[in-house]
């Protein structure tokens, strides 16, 4: 039992941290807020060159073939730097779906391009007034000859404006299926919808969009199982992202609490405030190890069924609660656009509400424990 990092792991962290400190500064993050494209080419290029985009993709497709453990290290840095990139939807979710269920042709066409950053894929999943569960997928895919015809609306599709392909969850006669769809196909209209976290999200309407049978990913009706298993990996990484954000938020607050004087004492000398920070640090340090344990279990070939949801549930609440108490410690300035606290404050809540929210995660855990 040890929590030591291998040299390679330490290298991945240092390299990622260093690159992000240069290419994902707060100024960069701020200029990308609400931007329809949403990420700077130079940052994306750097990520590709350092192999971050291919991190979890097998070497046979030009990736790094590393495990979820290294992924967690990288995502903690993404969270810390609030890096504005389509990495999650493209290099984690889309690549994950293809690796899990894609045909050789689909994998050959896309995986190396995803790893090299030359292609960006995103996932079109959620729908208006529908939840995170399988029943939530209502967008129709009617089978006609060797084609499927897609009709319906998708919401909160990240980075769709920059995507070469959408992976669309749709309802067929066989259940839920996944389709590779060209965002420029006839019958598709996109509209950006601003979000709390200010990353680019799109509402996409499908009106009789024709998709070739060959663009279905996996066997008929296997879509939800594929999606669920990739989500378990995804939420583990998002939990790491939450820890990174919370950790930086707290560190900057501690620094401020040591400098800011009120009633002739630094804020940090007020016991209530210092105890808020002690509590936050405990949940952050505990959450981090929980994420690593989840990722490590996955790397050992053990199931993420319980660990993944537990990590997302705990770390996202930790992130949200940390931004709340930190805002309380900063006082008025946290409320201004000029200071950075508000950027964590908004992102923490959006992350908690996205990619499986609290009640959905709780039910996944309860089902694993009780049923």
């Amino acid at each position: 039992m040890d929590l030591d990092l291998s040299e390679e792991q330490q290298m991945v962290i240092d390299m990622t941290k260093g690159m992000l400190e240069e290419y994902s500064t707060v100024d960069v993050v701020r200029t990308m807020e609400d931007d329809p494209k949403g990420y700077p080419d130079v940052l994306w290029k750097q990520m590709s060159e350092l192999g971050l985009n291919g991190l979890l993709i097998p070497e046979s497709y030009g990736g790094g073939g590393l495990t979820l453990v290294e992924g967690a290290f990288v995502y903690e840095e993404f969270g810390r730097s609030m890096a504005p990139t389509p990495h999650f939807v493209s290099c984690v979710m889309s690549a994950g779906v293809l690796l899990e269920a894609g045909s050789d042709a689909q994998k050959d066409t896309w995986l190396s391009k995803i790893a090299s950053g030359d292609a960006i894929l995103t996932t079109a999943w959620l729908e208006p007034s529908r939840g995170f569960g399988e029943v939530g997928v209502a967008l129709q895919a009617k089978s006609e000859g060797n084609e499927f015809v897609l009709s319906g609306r998708k919401q909160s599709v990240p980075y769709a404006g920059a995507a070469d392909r959408l992976i669309v969850l749709a309802r067929t006669d066989d259940g839920v299926d996944l389709f590779l769809v060209d965002p420029n196909a006839a019958g598709i209209t996109q509209k950006q919808i601003l979000s709390q976290g200010r990353e680019p999200q799109f509402q996409i309407d499908f009106e009789g969009v024709r998709v070739n049978e060959g663009d279905r990913i996996g066997a008929a009706g296997s879509g939800w199982a594929t999606w669920n298993s990739v989500m378990l990996q995804g939420v583990t990484l998002l939990a790491a992202q939450a820890i990174g954000g919370a950790d930086r938020c707290l560190k900057e607050t501690v620094e401020y609490a040591n400098q800011r004087i009120q009633f002739d004492k630094p804020l940090g000398a007020f016991q209530s405030l210092s105890h808020y920070m002690a509590d936050a640090s405990t949940t952050i340090d505990g959450g981090r190890v929980l994420v690593h344990e989840a990722a490590w279990n996955h790397a050992q070939g053990r199931p993420l069924t319980r660990f993944g949801p537990m990590a997302k549930l705990f770390c996202c609440e930790t992130y949200r609660e940390t931004t709340r108490v930190c805002a309380q410690i900063w006082g008025g300035v946290a409320f201004t656009i000029e200071y950075d606290q508000q950027m964590f404050f908004r992102r923490a809540k959006q992350l908690q509400l996205s990619w499986w929210d609290t009640p959905y995660l709780e039910e996944l855990i309860a089902a694993d424990v009780l049923d």
Binding site: F132, E338, L353, P359
Partner: protein, 393 residues
């Protein structure tokens, strides 16, 4: 014991409410502006304040000799709750701390110049107490006022002056005596907001609206515009807060948000099932409803204490402010949790539930547990004055 308004109070409440429905105006009254609705910061809203003046609803509690009606402060409480319920601008600093302080301590010139204008809503004020180094520690103001021939010369900086970008006059606390123990070294001044020595810098907030910092570069203030006695500034500031028993942090906006949330839940569906049948949603609504009732009870408590006319309801308002502001934040968080992934769509987006009302409110309420005396300050007050515990820092 009586939890209802008296018939007369009730009649007034209904009159105001009916009048506000009649005079509804989407531009003037916009719930999405959340806590900033109280400001008369546009021509439309200033015109609205003039209508209130015409109804003789400004300065109701003032002495008759200064144009008031000498009626109970509870009517100003009723008025402000109604105004904030309708997201209309509220009777604020002018009728409140500034008018009341001028009446008690102002010289005749200031009384003559400002009191009539306040009653007719012809003047809007900004209040300058906070500074970079004087937040929770209000008495620590550093803005320097040097005595010069015929007046005072002010240099320094103010922070968090909400209304500086539209107000006509500035009500400012400054240090008139650097040597004295800090509580006796402050004085109050009135300065035209367009004074060339004043530079107003806007500080945009994530509450969408803006606050300001104000820089003073050799701002000359004639002796006449020193309010009350030199060195009594801090006492006057504290006294004014005590006089302002009724028009503090209003409950209506929070009650309104709870109602808006309930109405939305009642008609919303998820996966074709009524959202209101979801057990988690039902628990959350029950808790919000209950805590809102407690907030109401705490406000009843301080209003009754204020009406009693005894000593200022400091403890009661601290408890009310402590509980209600944290509830206010909780309601916004819970609302987003109920909306799930759709809660992440930004305020103002047509496709967002309630056009993102709660995404915006989640940001707008972030400052409520800090502004106007942080929750920690309120707890210190309760611990010392109510429970009789020793100083804790």
């Amino acid at each position: 014991m009586d939890f209802d308004f008296s018939p007369v109070e009730q009649k007034f409440a209904e009159e105001v409410d009916a009048w506000l429905v009649e005079n509804h105006d989407d531009e003037v009254m916009d719930h999405h502006r959340e806590n900033f609705t109280q400001l008369a910061d546009t021509p439309g809203r200033r015109a609205f304040m003039k209508k209130l003046a015409a109804k003789n609803w400004l300065g109701m509690s003032w002495p008759k000799e200064f144009g008031g009606q000498e009626i109970e402060g509870v009517y100003e409480y009723i008025l402000n709750e109604a105004l904030s319920k309708h997201a209309a601008p509220q009777i604020g600093k002018g009728v409140g701390i500034i008018g009341k302080t001028l009446i008690r301590h102002g010289n005749d010139k200031l009384k003559k110049e400002f009191l009539p204008k306040i009653l007719s809503a012809e003047v809007e004020f900004a209040v300058g107490y906070s500074e970079p180094e004087a937040g929770s520690d209000a008495a620590n103001m550093q803005l320097k006022a040097e005595k010069v021939d015929g007046g005072w010369n002010l240099n320094g900086q103010k922070m968090w002056t909400t209304s500086a970008h539209f107000a006509d006059w500035y009500w400012v606390g400054a240090r008139t005596d650097p040597d004295k123990k800090k509580h006796n070294a402050l004085s109050l001044f009135m300065i035209p907001m367009d004074h060339p020595g004043l530079e107003v810098q806007s500080l945009p907030t994530i509450g969408k609206d803006t606050t300001n910092q104000v820089f003073f570069d050799n701002v000359f203030v004639p002796d006449d515009y020193l309010v009350g006695e030199r060195g009594k500034g801090f006492q006057m500031i504290s006294e004014a807060l005590d006089l302002e028993r009724f028009t503090m942090f209003t409950l209506s906006p929070i009650a309104n948000r709870s109602e808006v949330l309930v109405d939305w839940v009642k008609q919303a569906t998820r996966d074709d099932k009524p959202l209101k049948d979801d057990t988690n949603v039902r628990r959350t609504i029950a808790q919000i409803t209950t805590d809102t009732a407690v907030a109401k009870a705490l406000s009843t408590r301080f209003v009754c204490a204020a009406k009693s006319g005894g000593k200022p309801p400091t403890i009661q308002s601290s408890q009310y402010k402590l509980f209600t502001t944290s509830l206010s934040q909780r309601v916004c968080k819970d609302a987003l949790d109920i909306q799930g992934h759709e809660g992440t769509m930004a305020e103002g987006q047509d496709d967002a539930p309630l056009r993102g009302r709660f995404e915006g409110a989640y940001r707008a309420t972030m400052n409520e547990t800090v502004g106007g005396g942080s929750s920690e300050i309120q707890k210190n007050i309760i611990a010392r004055r109510h429970l009789g515990l020793p100083k804790n820092f």
